[in-house]
């Protein structure tokens, strides 16, 4: 029984922010939900997919975020309510259509939920998507609490339907993935019937007039926002300093103020409707005090926009000069994720306050002691991961080819090619599909004398998302490189959502399998398929492909993800070390398995000075047997 589907209106339950958003969508009568998996947004559509059949709604893992938005927009044009969810990079992919959708307008309410990843815990950039709202002229809401994550989703859909435009709901990791109390509402009993009214088409011309119309919608939203319950002030009438914050900024600010004991000096203006800004409401509060500090992440979005409002209003409302503190003044860091400590430092500087959370000596000693308990751990591939084997082969092939060749990876677990676990192979970074796109570029430099081997790497899910056009480009423009597709039958990094190659849909139904090999061949590319666990064959194949300097060579390395495999099958082998063969740290080895290969299933025994299998971690894939130069790793079939 999913918590998102719980039929218990009035009950308060503990929910993840993403689940609260999903619940809000259900309560508001959403009938179509789409997304491409992207941390931290994946659970929104993920949890809706689990209850789709019960709720009789349609949920889809689309192939990329642009299509996801288009599918949701279609539902909206047919009068249904829809939700589409994505991470910041997903919005970058979808925004081409988004801006047109703003001009064509919508019918049924549609909310675009975007979850940003400050500090880029799991992304290829650090980005603040709120700028899209301003750029595209869309109303923008930012939840602070988990209750708001639900309530704002419902409000967004209502507002969207009233104004007939997309409403953007923007959260961050700590809202998406943390949990809090949410009071449930009623789940709808009825469903709408979709109908596309051809007498009222959704077109974007006449363009300039439609743009004007969009601005009118925005102004209406502004009027609504002037009295929105999502905006509020807490604190003294005339504070020494007023914090203006949105989203997570509210919690960090409240905590900082409480810890520093500044409740009587510092007020907090909470904004939940952050574009367009309700200027009358703002003007009223800007009059409270001269010192204003902005707390938000990541960019100075509120900071810049509120300054504009002040510049316009100051002469009218006779608000005097203000001192604005924030990212532009250096009081709050302009990059990275917010923390309470960062807000404390900002307040200390702005108010010239002295504050130490505890004795500095104690603080230092505490840091030293806790460091002993938790060692630094690097990101790495799981034991048994086929990518480790693929990269081992690629690493050796690049060396054997001896032409300073390099690898251009894409987005996924295999992006760990930039770490020790991936043998530091990655030499470029990019967005979805960029690994192959970049390789297309390098592959055309031959005529200028470029002779370095280039191998691009992408995954099976990435292939469908963005790499296919890059392969068309490579074939059509005759670009010379090896294109390696790591097919592990999963969209692994984001949580094993199905994709067009695996045969199941988001809602658990059988789905046609799109055969990657057949697609590549249909494009006319040279294609080979190998098993990455056969290290010798794979290495020889890649080395051989590097010698072919004509056109793109597709190599599919096919083997199931280790985590997926572990769910369904028992370990194929039991591994142990034949200590008498282990050369250890002497000439002939020096810890090849633990120092370079680095599967977490093998550890170094500092007492015997030999390798040892960690039986809890090892999944018995058997690849290590082939990399040991002294046959010291033994595998027995289970």
């Amino acid at each position: 029984m999913s918590i998102v589907n719980l039929d218990a209106p009035g009950r308060t339950v503990l929910m993840m922010g993403n689940e609260a958003t999903a619940r809000g969508a259900l309560e508001a009568g959403v009938m179509v939900a789409t997304a491409y998996p992207g941390t931290p947004s994946s659970e929104i559509i993920g949890s809706l997919a689990e209850v789709a059949k019960e709720r009789e709604i349609y949920v889809e893992w689309s192939v990329n975020e642009k299509v996801a938005l288009e599918v949701a927009a279609a539902a909206s044009m047919a009068g249904l309510r829809a939700i589409t969810a994505m991470k910041q990079n997903g919005l970058n992919v979808a925004c081409d259509y988004l801006f047109t959708l703003g001009l064509t307008g919508v019918k049924g309410g549609i909310v675009l939920v975007v979850c940003d990843d400050p500090a880029s815990h799991s992304s290829s950039n650090e980005e603040d998507t709120r700028a899209f709202a301003r750029m595209g002229d869309f109303p923008l809401l930012e939840p602070t609490t988990f209750q708001e994550a639900k309530d704002m989703t419902i409000y967004a859909l209502e507002l969207s339907e009233e104004l007939r435009t997309v409403v953007i709901l923007r959260g961050v990791t700590r809202i998406s993935h943390a949990r809090g109390n949410v009071k449930l509402g009623e789940l709808p009993k009825d469903h709408r019937k979709p109908y596309f009214d051809t007498s009222s088409p959704f077109t974007y011309s006449p363009m300039v007039q439609k743009h004007s119309l969009l601005h009118e919608k925005l102004n209406k939203a502004k009027e609504r926002f002037e009295t929105s319950p999502f905006n509020s002030y807490e604190g003294p009438e005339k504070p020494d300093l007023m914090v203006i914050a949105s989203g997570t900024g509210i919690f960090y600010s409240r905590e900082a103020v409480t810890l520093m004991g500044l409740e009587d000096q510092v007020g907090i203006l909470k904004l939940g409707t952050t574009w367009p800004l309700p200027d009358r409401f703002l003007g009223k509060h800007l009059a409270r005090t001269q010192k204003i500090m902005f707390v938000e992440e990541v960019d100075p979005f509120l900071e810049s926009n509120v300054k504009e409002v002040w510049a316009d209003l100051a002469p009218i409302l006779e608000i005097g000069p203000r001192t604005f503190y924030g990212k532009r003044s250096g009081h709050i860091p302009i990059v990275g994720e917010l923390t309470t400590d960062r807000v404390i430092e900002g307040l200390k500087k702005a108010l010239d306050e002295v504050y130490e959370p505890c004795d500095p000596n104690y603080s230092r000693r505490a840091k030293e002691v806790t460091k002993e308990f938790v060692s630094d751990r690097a990101l790495g591939f799981c034991p048994g991961c086929p990518h480790r084997a693929s990269y081992w082969a690629i690493k050796n092939a690049l060396k054997l080819d001896d032409r300073e060749g390099f690898l251009t990876p894409d987005i996924g677990c295999y992006a760990l090619a930039r770490t020790a676990s991936g043998f530091f192979l990655s030499k470029t970074g990019g967005a979805m599909g960029s690994g192959t796109g970049l390789a297309c570029g390098f592959g055309k430099l031959q005529e200028f004398g470029f002779d370095q081997s280039v191998i691009s790497v992408c995954g099976d899910s990435t292939f469908f998302h963005a790499v296919m056009p890059a392969l068309v480009n490579a074939q059509y423009n005759k670009s010379n490189f090896v294109m390696c597709i790591l097919d592990n039958s999963a969209t692994a990094m984001t949580g094993f959502q199905p994709h067009p190659g695996v045969g199941t849909s988001a809602m658990g139904d059988p789905a046609p399998i799109l055969d990657i090999e057949a697609i590549c061949r249909a494009m006319g590319a040279k294609v080979e398929v190998k098993d990455p666990f056969d290290l010798k064959d794979t290495t020889e194949t890649i080395t051989r492909l590097f010698q072919d300097r004509e056109g793109v060579k597709v190599l599919i390395l096919k083997r199931k993800c280790a985590l997926l495999k572990a769910k369904g099958e028992k370990p194929p082998y039991k591994i142990h070390i034949a200590l008498e063969n282990c050369v250890g740290q002497d000439c002939g080895c020096n810890q090849l398995c633990t120092r370079i290969f680095r599967c977490p299933g093998i550890i170094w025994d500092t007492e015997t000075k030999k390798a040892k299998v960690d039986e809890v971690i090892c999944v018995g894939c058997g690849v290590c047997t082939d990399i040991c130069p002294n046959s010291a790793i033994i595998k027995e079939e289970t």
């Binding site: 050796n396 060396k399 054997l400 001896d402 080395t543 000439c587 002939g588 370079i596 040991c628 130069p629």
Partner: protein, 380 residues
Amino acid sequence: MSDIKGPSDLEKEVLKQKLCVACGACMGLCAYFGTFQGKVVMLDSCKLIQGRCYAFCPRTTTDMEKLRLEFFDKRDFLPEIGPFRGLYITRASDKSIRTKSQHGGSTTALVELAMKEGLIDSAIMTCSNGGLNPSGMLVSKPEEVRRCSGSSFQIPPSLMILNQALKENKYKKIGVIGTPCKTLAAYKTRSKPFAENDHHADNIAMVFGLFCGWGLDWVGLEKVIEGKTPPEKVKHIDVLPSKYQILEVKTRNGRIEVPLDEIYPIVRESCRYCTDMTAEFSDISIGGARSSKGWDFDRGWNQVIVRTRKGEELLKIAREKRILEFREIESENFDKLKKASRNKKKNATQNILKKTGNGNNLLYLDPEDPGLKGLLHSAI
């Protein structure tokens, strides 16, 4: 011992300096060295400060004099051609050996005989494979020796097989057959540079050297041949005496002459720094006959230098059992050989000095080496 460094230095001083002769002495010891198209590459570094790879490599700093004193009679040393106990012109008596062999088939006959006589129980050879894409091989039956016979102008890293055999410690009397670079590496291995790890080097029983002027770039030779005849039809490749200036390629259909001007660009760069024409570190060295009587007389015959008592013993048996035919040797032969050998030393030292630009830096060679006596002066 303090001169011996590790793999990172090997990569820096030899592999990246184009000194590597791809003999394979660094391979087969661990998982860190690989080979492709005639090149040896380091896949990763073990990061140890000292390693057998550096110690065995024939292009790291070598004390030639010390090696000579350890394995040869001091009195036998000639600076032009190394330890010398006798020169012979021979060919294999068995005609079927000579139909396939590079010159007179003496190497094949001698190795086969040594194995039959129990002087060796196995041999590390280069298998011709018809003339292109030769490969290293361990042969343990006398009847398998002939299969390797034939031309080999590309140099496969066959010492990798030697290292694997030594590690296995199954064969206790291994014969190593190779070009001068390989035989030098074999002796460096035999000198057991590490007290705590002798690598079972005493299992090397005999070394057979092959005369060598230079080896050819692996891909380069393939391309030259491909441009003239299907590679699979090649039966025999040979460099004719210098007055002809051609590389002769015999195919199943006939004979092709390739002007040496097309070959000089594909001579391996590392070969230009080699001072050893007659494989001075061996029990017995074999090459193509070059007398003053001309090619029609010399074609199909070998010159053989004996360097040790063991080599003498084997040649004696070969004579007695009529495994080899012998020819008269003239004194001009000896002079001609010494002159050719010295010429290679002169060219090599010149090339090295051009590379380093420093009269005191002879890369892997010792300027004080008696083998280079009189050369450095003329080189500068």
